[in-house]
């Protein structure tokens, strides 16, 4: 017996394994699109989407937004005088008022239009190794930085490249006018960049004082002060981890963009900007008229879902209603053409 058993086993040595996988018996599910599932499904999706859409739309509507163009193209604009390319250290002042409380926390952006930060050869023109604090790249920046690699005396630019070179350098001060007197609105510039940028991607070289790391290098062509002196008020906010620098280096995806400048969170303004008159003092340095660009400042508050975005809510509403409409259409079609077998 034993022998025959063994023989049988040997004989069937080539027999394929009997598993669900090899025999293609793995459970599969191909739903029948029966009316009982599809039509109620559509109604539920539709209703849910309409709900989300309404919520989004209402939220978006509740967001306050204030945009002020200060390019100075029109002669009436207070910044008109500064738009002249020859003007140096030009200051201009913009006044505006709010009727109601501008609910806090208020975000303060600057915005640029027709500005192609997403142009490829502009975008690649930087040296990530240098920006992460590699001192070798201080002396010889990567050739991706061309043409902002070395100056005429063959000294390396630090930070090199077109992106860093074109750092936005307008500065703003905000005052509330209370009884004709200007009251400074404190602006908070901490933590406006991405956490990863601040902590990982951009690093200052481990040299103290920081200035020494920059020996033998020159500041970028368009900069008025070197990287280690970007923020005179806070020594820790200098070099490559300067918040404004970080915000600028994170390139915008579209040619019309805004970037976060400051947040208004402190003191009397923690609840927001009270109704009243305000004055915005602008140090106008950044030329944009040559490429028909526009500059503006934007005040906005945010909701749980981010900034003002009406499109998303509307899209949800549209899709939701379409689903409901389709469910009705399908119901009609189904009633007319259903399978005879089901009767």
């Amino acid at each position: 017996m034993g022998r025959t058993k063994k023989m049988v086993k040997e004989e069937l040595a080539n027999r394929p394994d009997n598993t669900a996988f090899t025999q293609q018996r793995l459970p599969a599910w191909q739903p029948m699109l029966s009316a009982g599932i599809v039509i109620p499904g559509f109604v539920i999706i539709g209703l849910a989407f309409i709900g989300i859409g309404v919520a989004l739309f209402v939220t978006s509507q509740s967001i306050q937004l204030l945009e002020l163009d200060y390019t100075g193209v029109e002669q009436t604009s207070p910044c008109f005088k500064c738009s002249d390319p020859n003007a140096k250290n030009c200051m201009c002042e913009l006044t505006f008022s709010t009727d109601t409380l501008f609910k806090g926390p208020v975000f303060f952006y600057y915005g640029l239009s027709n500005y192609f930060q997403n142009y490829r050869s502009y975008g690649v023109s930087k040296d990530d190794d240098q920006l992460s604090g590699n001192l070798d790249n201080f002396k010889s920046p990567s050739d991706t930085c061309a043409p902002y690699e070395y100056d005429r005396n063959n000294k390396p630019f630090v930070p090199c490249g077109a992106v860093a070179n074109s750092l936005f350098n307008d500065t703003f001060k905000l005052y509330q006018i209370v009884n004709g007197a200007k009251k400074v609105v404190p602006l908070d510039g901490k933590g406006i960049s991405w956490w990863t940028d601040y902590n990982i991607k951009y690093r200052n070289p481990a040299v103290t004082p920081l200035k020494n790391a920059f020996n033998g290098t020159v500041k970028p062509l368009y900069w008025s002060k070197p990287a280690y002196e970007l923020d005179p008020s806070d020594p820790a906010n200098n070099g490559f981890i300067n918040q404004d620098f970080l915000v600028w280096m994170r390139r915008a995806a579209l040619p019309d963009f805004r970037k976060l400048y400051r947040r208004i969170t402190d003191g009397d303004y923690a609840e927001g900007l009270p109704a009243g008159n305000y004055s915005l003092q602008i140090a106008y340095n950044y030329p944009v008229l040559s490429f028909e660009g526009r500059k503006k400042v934007v005040f906005s508050n945010v909701s749980w879902m981010g900034g003002k975005n009406e499109f998303l809510g509307i899209a949800y509403l549209v899709i939701g209603s379409l689903c409901v409409v389709m469910s009705v259409v399908m119901l009609i079609v189904y009633a007319k053409f259903k399978f005879p077998e089901e009767e």
Partner: protein, 1073 residues
């Protein structure tokens, strides 16, 4: 191989001298080494790479890679291309290398087989590859012939030897070869050593049935033909040993010359994919041009003003140049629309499908322990598209086993099994078979289920005894008794073997024969009959008889043959029995059995003497001997007494009729191409249910000239078309009538069948007739071609392939099917049997015909579905991914800035088969992780992107929205389509679902029933029997001496070989090429 051929001059004539290596070396003939491999270690890399870069896709990506190295253009880092490219190259190379390794191994195995070569006066063992042209080699029984050799002598008398040519032409019966008389005496080594004959013969060619040459020896010339040649691939049988001289070796042997070049088979999806890729490439160029123009415009209108913050150089040169560079940048960035990974993924997918085929237990054959095997991995989805199947008969549809299944003796049928209620019981494996233990000489493999026959034997029923005595005496089978009681019958046709084996088991054991006697063991008693004459079978007579004198001294004639022939020659006293037997024959034929009628006659001593004298006289006549003999035979085979009839089952492979019916339902046309006789083929056609009596007409085309064939084809076609539209035709001209018949193909409801023989087929395949043939064949439901050569099989397949644009599949088991297997889109070999030629040439192999159903209808369908779904998804994915960049181009000044990070996408693309979003996100975060950034700051600049994006709630809301927007329209469309335009599948599924709700239901299984009228086929054997050979005594080893003195035989026997070989030549001509 090709190089070697180019170098040699074209051989016009071959000179070979025996035992003279130096002389033969002058001609630099091919040695006996065969080489089917493509590479060796050193040539592998260059040749393989060269081959791979000939593929358009690989070349395209090489160009892309070069483009990416240019920094002004490159928008992506070069390793996004090199990684997949190298992956593709490596995978393909590994596959090629393993294939070639196995080819090397099989070559080596063949080359290293041992053979005995006569070198310097002694026999030495040599490897096959060292055998040279002109060598004399010794072969032993059951050995493969090492090269094409000229038979010099053998252990058998007269230099006879027997070979089996299954590897060459698929025929399993034995064939006789005979050496020249002058050389047949060279039986010892010293004589062979001195043999220095020179053969001058034709150059190597691929004709298996032809050889012309001359042997020059001792100032004499001897003509040589194919009957003196043993070809490589044959097996020596029934012959202890033989010596031969090598004429053609290695690649120049006829077998190797017949191995058609394997063509690379492509599927229609491949072709579609290539066209698609070309179109997509054109589309890519279009996009590139549009974006380049966009860039030019952008630069001259907007970009110029933006110089302040941008590197100056680019804008100083002109905008057109910038556009030009942008074009190339976009070619790179948008390259994913022409997906290289598509080719890899498709290959991987097909490989997976092949494994599913290999793994399928439903295609595993228990008996032979063979699983199905997908030998080619690239054709799976084509299986679902097959429209024509060309099938071999012997060994494919049938098992080539003849089984004695029923008989009718003296008006009584035996063979059916009845249960206690007198109902016929279907015979299955479980049915108890008759116990033959009373008979020590019985064949254990023989099975019979009806016990009443054995009872009749035991009751010593005279008719039954005579019946089996006839079966034991009237045949040309040779017995071989290896040990006491262990009998083996060497039959020339399996039918005869089956009949003699039946007689053996029922107690009439055919034990031994000499030229004059036949010894039987009748129910345990040894009885010797004196054999007086064998009246052999031929195609005209369709019967054979023996005349014997039994121990009691009576002379008897036993005759078996086709029923119609026998019934014409019956004694009036048998008339009543004839009617009952005739009824039984109808019954047998209805079950698809092959029938024979048996009859005997008592002869008067004096009459016989007179007749015998006439016979002896006739057999010495030189002119018209055949005819005279036939007349004499006719004279004595009169007034026979009917004994009964036998029914032999040509056993079909399991489940053949069901499979054919099922494939017919799937609108797949099955053509049977067989080398067998017309009758046999038709018989099988009926038993497979391919031919039926309720068919309107079965056209048999058997013309001998072109005109005749044309006539027959025309009239058959007119018959079909005429019937189908009697009203519409009328005065329309005939040419018009044939012009547009494809429209009417569908309309013809009536069922027709076409049977055509090889002779007619040769004419019908000529260019002027092939269209008619094809049209007619496609109008018929069943097409059977018989007596076709391997080449004709391939021609038929080629014909359909060329004109029908349908996917064809050829299935066969023997070497004679190789050409058709290679020609068809898909070749299937039946494995698990002895010959491996067909399997080696095939794309798929399995053990039984019925697995074809599962292969085509399940695996083929699934493969096709999956492949199509995959392609749809793949193109969709690539377009979705790539067109984003097109869109984004309008926002970034057409600067070829990428909007998505390529680094993880490449990985995701390849790992998506593991498929889960988990992997996706893991990679997403890994690639943008702080750690990786710390190591390669400039290569992974996207650190934190994912984290910051995904922490935005609106991003998730957008993802949800887009998902729904993408899915919902699809759902709506498919829901509405099911309701408005339901496909067959939808209906079936609906039905299934509603059935399920109703609960289990009895299913009506359609049973395939055979309905057919009586077709008594004397499908006796392929060729004329060995009757003459037996009576001449030439093939009797021991008894030749004793029989030599027999009077009257000598003149007869002097010419028998000539006759036989002559006839055989005619036969063989039809069978081989």
């Amino acid at each position: 191989m090709a190089f070697w051929r180019r170098n040699t001059h074209i051989e016009k004539e071959r000179h070979v001298k025996a035992n003279a290596r130096d002389y033969n070396d002058k001609f630099s003939y091919a040695d006996n080494r065969i080489k089917t491999s493509k590479y060796n270690i050193f040539t592998f890399l260059p040749i393989n790479l060269f081959e791979q870069f000939q593929r358009v896709a690989n070349a395209y990506f090489l160009v892309l890679l070069i483009l990416q190295v240019i920094p002004e253009i490159s928008s992506l880092s070069w390793f996004t291309t090199i990684v997949p490219l190298v992956l593709v190259l490596v995978i393909t190379a590994v596959k090629d290398a393993t294939d070639d390794y196995f080819r090397h191994k099989s070559d080596q195995q063949v080359n290293n087989r041992q053979s005995q070569v006569l070198i310097r006066g002694s026999l030495q063992n040599e490897k096959w590859m060292n055998v040279r042209v002109g060598d004399i080699i010794r072969l032993e029984n059951n050995q493969f012939v090492a090269a094409d050799i000229l038979l010099l002598c053998s252990s058998e008398p007269y230099g006879l030897c027997y070979i089996e040519t299954a590897e060459l032409d698929g025929e399993t019966n034995l064939k006789v070869r005979q050496a020249l008389t002058v050389t047949s005496d060279l039986k010892d080594i010293t004589k062979l050593m001195d043999f220095d004959g020179e053969v001058i013969c034709e150059p190597p060619n691929n004709k298996l049935d032809k050889f012309t040459g001359t042997l020059y020896w001792r100032d004499n010339k001897y003509p040589l033909d194919n009957e003196k040649m043993l070809l490589r691939g044959c097996v020596l049988r029934n012959t202890e040993w033989c010596f031969g001289m090598v004429i053609f070796a290695g690649l120049q042997t006829k077998l190797m010359q017949n191995c058609g070049r394997t063509t690379f088979k492509r599927t229609s999806i491949d072709k579609l994919m290539n066209t698609l890729v070309l179109w997509i490439f054109a589309f890519l160029i279009c996009m590139g041009v549009i974006l380049a123009i966009g860039n030019t415009i952008w630069v001259s209108w907007i970009g110029r003003n933006f110089q302040v913050f941008l590197p100056g150089e680019e804008f100083q040169s002109n905008a057109v140049f910038s556009g030009f560079l942008t074009f190339w940048s976009y070619i790179i960035i948008l390259n994913t629309v022409v997906p290289i990974s598509l080719y890899v993924s498709v290959e991987v997918l097909r490989l997976g499908h092949s494994y599913f085929i290999n793994w399928d237990q439903k295609m595993f054959c228990r008996q032979t322990n063979t699983a199905a095997e997908a030998r080619t991995t690239t054709l799976n989805e084509e299986l679902g598209q097959v429209e024509f199947i060309f099938s071999d008969k012997t060994g494919t549809l049938t098992q080539n086993i003849m089984v004695f299944s029923k008989c009718s003796i003296n008006g009584q049928t035996y063979g059916d099994v009845y249960n206690e209620f007198d109902e016929k019981v279907e015979i299955t494996e479980k049915t108890a078979c008759v116990d033959f233990s009373f008979n020590p000489l019985c064949d254990k493999a023989f099975k019979f289920y009806d016990g009443s026959l054995i009872e009749a034997i035991k009751l010593e029923d005279l008719a039954v005894q005579e019946f089996f005595r006839l079966l034991a005496l009237c045949h040309t089978v040779m017995p071989e008794e290896k040990s006491e009681g262990h009998l083996v019958y060497l039959a020339q046709s399996p039918d005869e073997g089956a009949l003699v084996t039946a007689a053996r088991n029922f107690g009439f054991v055919f034990r031994a024969r000499t030229p004059e006697t036949i010894t039987l063991c009748e129910m345990g008693r040894a009885v010797t009959y004196q054999l007086l004459a064998i009246l052999d079978f031929n195609n005209v007579r369709k019967r054979m008889s023996v005349i014997v004198r039994n121990p009691q001294g009576q002379i008897k004639l036993y005759c078996k043959g086709a029923d119609t022939i026998i019934f014409d020659r019956l004694d009036p006293s048998s008339e009543a029995l004839m009617y009952t037997t005739s009824e039984h024959l109808n019954e047998f034929a209805g079950e698809g059995l092959r029938t024979l009628a048996l009859a005997y006659k008592d002869l008067d001593e004096d009459d016989f003497e007179v007749w015998m004298k006439k016979l002896l006289f006739a057999s010495t006549v030189i002119e018209n001997r055949e005819d005279q003999l036939a007349v004499l035979y006719e004279e004595i085979e009169q007034g026979l007494k009917l004994l009964g009839a036998t029914a032999i089952e040509d056993k079909l492979q399991e489940g053949v009729p069901e499979t054919i019916a099922c494939l017919n339902l799937a609108d797949i046309k099955i053509w049977v191409l067989t080398g067998d006789k017309l009758e046999t083929a038709m018989n099988i056609g009926y038993s497979c249910n391919m031919l039926r009596d309720d068919m309107n007409e079965v056209f048999v085309i058997s013309g001998h000239t072109l005109l005749e064939v044309q006539q027959q084809l025309r009239s058959a076609k007119e018959h079909i078309l005429g019937l189908s539209r009697v009203s519409s035709v009328g005065d329309v001209e005939k040419t018009d009538m044939f012009a547009d018949d494809s429209v009417f193909e569908e309309a013809i409801i009536a069922e027709y069948a076409l049977v055509i023989n090889g002779h007619s087929l040769a004419h019908a395949l000529e260019p002027q007739l092939e269209h008619i043939l094809l049209d007619l064949a496609c109008l018929c439901k069943t097409v059977i071609c018989c007596r076709v050569t391997p080449l004709q099989k391939a021609q038929v397949v080629e014909l359909v392939k060329r004109h029908k644009r349908a996917v064809t599949l050829a299935i066969g088991d023997g070497a004679n099917d190789v050409s058709m297997i290679k020609t068809a889109h898909i070749g299937v070999g039946i494995s698990g049997q002895e010959g491996m030629q067909a399997v080696l040439a095939s794309d798929y192999s399995f053990a039984q015909f019925r697995y074809l159903q599962r292969l085509l209808l399940v695996h083929g369908r699934w493969s096709y579905f999956r492949m199509c779904n995959f392609l749809c998804y793949f193109f969709y994915k690539n377009f979705a991914f790539t067109l984003v960049h097109f869109w984004y181009g309008f926002f970034c000044g057409f600067s070829a800035q990428i909007g998505l990070d390529k680094h993880y996408w490449t990985a995701v693309n390849h790992l998506f088969i593991w498929g889960s979003l988990t992997v996706y996100f893991a990679i997403l975060f890994a690639m943008q992780s702080n750690g990786i950034f710390g190591i390669f700051p400039s290569n992974f600049p996207f650190v934190g992107t994912a984290r910051n994006c995904l922490s935005e709630k609106s991003v998730w809301l957008v993802i949800l929205l887009t998902t729904v927007v993408c899915v919902v329209p699809g759902l709506v469309v498919s829901f509405l389509r099911v309701d408005l335009f339901p496909t067959l599948t939808d209906k079936v599924r609906h039905l299934q679902q509603s059935r399920k709700k109703e609960g289990p239901q009895e299913q009506n299984l359609r049973r395939v029933r055979r309905t057919s009228s009586r077709r008594s086929a004397y499908a006796f054997s392929h060729q004329q029997g060995y009757g003459e050979l037996i009576t001449s005594g030439k093939n009797m080893k021991m008894s030749t001496v004793s029989s030599a003195g027999s009077p009257g035989r000598t003149p007869h026997s002097s010419t028998w070989i000539e006759n036989m070989l002559k006839r055989k030549n005619e036969q063989v001509y039809f069978k081989t090429i």
